[in-house]
Amino acid sequence: MKIIVCLKQVPKNDSILRISETGDWIQDRDLTYEINESDAYALEEALQLKEKHGGEVIALSLGPARVQSVIKEALARGADRGLHLEDPAFDKLDAFGIGAVIAAAAKTEQFDLLLTGLQSDDFGFAQTGVVAAELLGAPHATIVMAVEVAEGSMRVKRELESGYFQWVTLPSPAVLTIQSGINTLRYATLKGIMAAKKKEIKKLDAAALGLDSNVLAPKQQIRRVYFPQKTKLTEMLEGSPSEVAAKLLDRLANEARVF
């Protein structure tokens, strides 16, 4: 089976965020990046499915030149080749736009399965995979915690709220959005890193994908970003570690009366 897995490169989880001069996003200089958390699990799922059923895993990422490092990481872990979607027109896309570009790229491959993470850690749209499915005319399932592949179809376990789950069967080709924790991640080996050097990364831009500015026109726009106002009165305890420890235990015993 042919599996495309979408990997987004996001600022490292513990980055110090500074708002940009234009006030509508963050400053991106001095940031370091990593693979979006749920996407790492989507990649692992793709690799495990390939190991079980044979086929090919294609690592796809949309973004500027720096996102090649995410594709290379995927190739080192065992993906077979990469697709890098890059164009100045892709710079400030919303979920619909990213979904449209990914759908257009997926169309150039006869895929059986398109995997995405369930949500990006920066924008957090929680939409891209589902939008791509709609534009591809493919069925989808979200928040997936297990995948069983059969001939021409698959049975997947969806996480629902309050501890419930549900198995759903759908025909392939299909789009699944993967939840973190579905499997145990592997890391790249030295051998994998060496092998990755010979693997192909194909670049596709808007023209190659036949996308015009109409499709990429934003449907939602950020007016401003800001640090949330605090609503609760938090008492911040200061001092050396042993001083704050004593202060906290005093407060818990005498003010909050938890002991």
């Binding site: 924008f123 749209f125 939409q127 759903v168 726009q221 305890l237």
Partner: protein
């Protein structure tokens, strides 16, 4: 002649998801500000009782959409039926609550109509007569004010807890039926029964004291220092999702929307950032303490006491102090 707000009512076998009333409340408030009336729509095979319940809220109308192919939820069935409803009613705005079900079908519906879906909002403002939606980015570290661009209808969903469902104004809405054309061919997902995994071995809901550890702990072996603190305080140990995903602690110690919901006397969060999916599981705790090296971490917004610093220094100091006081 597009007008009005349409609110999606979610239910399982006629039992309404309480979160839907939060969306109704949002529609009542926003509608009053922008001069639009609000109606609601509910999909299923037979939903008249549920519709009657919703109709006791102040709404223009409650629409029922009954069809055998809507008996159980599927993304294909709901998106197709909803699309036909929107074509008939032509609302300007569709409001939903950001549940797992809405996450599953709303992006598809909006994409099919070539429209904006602004998801997981925590509130709205009105600027120049039009709604501006506030949503969290970077897992709650920043807020973004977002506007829809292009033609109506626009779609927006609100994070659970953003509005108070019990504050809905009462009323007596008219219930009317809308019919849609669906057939077996368009529905590609075949859902099975919902189920729960075997019962959790540890029940944290009754624990009076909880010390909870997040990814700030860095490595599995470091969990030990938090376990020592829990022991010194006589508390249960719990964790955020990534810790359980990594199998550093078992799944049944996970707190949050996909773990347990707890309300202990003390919840001490160590190296946890405070993403909304974690907060929903613990913000009912009576006293919340957060230890985090990032003064901007969202966890401090719900904390009663905060300590900004390195957990690897503070946790051992706390353990030593707690042990000293026991003697």
């Amino acid at each position: 002649m597009a007008s009005g707000i349409l609110v999606f009512i979610e239910h399982v076998d006629g039992k309404i998801n309480r979160a839907s009333y939060e969306a109704v409340r949002a529609a009542q408030l926003l509608g009053a500000e922008i001069g639009q009336t609000a109606s609601a729509v509910i999909f299923g095979e037979s939903v008249s009782d549920a519709a009657a319940e919703v109709a006791s809220r102040k709404l223009e109308r409650v629409y029922t959409v009954e069809n055998q192919w809507l008996k159980s939820y599927t993304a294909d069935g709901y998106a197709q039926a909803f699309r036909q409803v929107i074509e008939q009613l032509q609302p300007t705005l569709v409001l939903l609550c950001h549940t797992y079900e809405v996450r599953d079908f709303a992006p598809k519906l909006a994409a099919a109509l070539n429209r904006a879906f602004i998801g997981d909002c925590i509130g709205y403002k009105v600027e120049d007569g039009a709604p501006v939606f506030t949503r969290q980015v970077f897992q709650g570290k920043l807020s973004a004010d977002v506007v829809a661009v292009g033609d109506a209808p626009h779609f927006a969903s609100f994070q659970i807890g953003s509005f108070r469902g019990e504050e809905c104004e009462a009323g007596a809405a008219e219930v009317s039926a809308i019919s849609v054309n669906l057939d077996a061919d368009i529905i590609r997902q075949q859902p099975e029964e919902r189920f729960k995994e075997a019962k959790a071995a540890v029940d944290l809901t009754q624990a009076p004291l909880i010390v909870s550890v997040g990814r700030g702990i860095k490595e599995e072996k470091n969990i030990e220092i938090v376990r020592k603190l829990a022991e010194a305080l006589g508390a249960e140990i719990a964790a955020s999702r990534p810790i359980c995903d990594n199998e550093w602690l078992p799944m049944d110690r996970q707190i949050g929307s996909s773990g347990q919901t707890v309300s202990p006397k003390l919840y001490l969060a160590v190296g946890i950032s405070g993403a909304i999916q974690h907060l929903v599981g613990m913000k009912g705790a009576r006293t919340i303490v957060a230890i985090n090296k990032d003064p901007e971490a969202p966890i401090f917004e719900v904390a009663d006491y905060g300590i900004v610093g390195d957990l690897f220094e503070i946790v051992p100091a706390l353990t030593a102090e707690a042990e000293k006081r026991k003697r």
